[in-house]
């Protein structure tokens, strides 16, 4: 699934490991989401949504593009 995770992370100047620590997953998981190899669980998606203080649809784009 396309997502804006990499951009949001870069805006905050966080490394993948730093973001991973903040949501309690491995760096590999963040990398796999950013490279669209893995779609996060609902729990992780909500954690990211809460961390970035943005709605899910502003982070993840299931239709393949930003609305």
């Amino acid at each position: 699934m396309k997502n804006g995770l990499k951009v949001l992370r870069a805006e905050r100047d966080w490394s993948q490991a730093e973001l991973a620590d903040r949501v309690g997953v491995s760096r590999q998981t963040i990398n796999a989401i950013e490279t669209e190899k893995y779609d996060p669980s609902l729990t992780l998606a909500f954690s990211l949504s809460s961390l970035f203080a943005m709605p899910l649809e502003a982070i993840f784009f299931p239709n393949g593009k930003r609305d």
């Binding site: 490991a17 309690g24 997953v25 760096r27 998981t29 190899k37």
Partner: protein, 134 residues
Amino acid sequence: MSKQSSRILSDDAVILALGLFWLLLYFAVRFFLEANPDLARGMRLGLAFLPTPLFALFLWRFIQGIRSADELERRIQLEGLAIAFPLGVLLLTTLGLVQRAVELNFQDWSYNHVWPFFIFFYIFGQAFARKRYL
């Protein structure tokens, strides 16, 4: 390295060590039984089950490791096992059919020879799943 990554690696080291200890004990018992065919039956059976508690400990830690892993690692483990298990079933059923078709030499195709294939299937399944996600 994130905290989650380092915790997984630490768990991996313990699980790997337990697996290697079990393997060493297995081969030690196997060679001892082969070298001492005159031991009493009860003693031989007792020795045959000697590695079992260590394997149970390994299995317990392995399951704990998977439970404590993050969601991507759990997905990889699941896909790896989903590949390895059917391959194991395929091996056993095919060997069963081959055994009915022709006479297999016990020295070449006994329980002693089949189980390492399951470890190979697990490693293959893991590699396949990791290639997809990492």
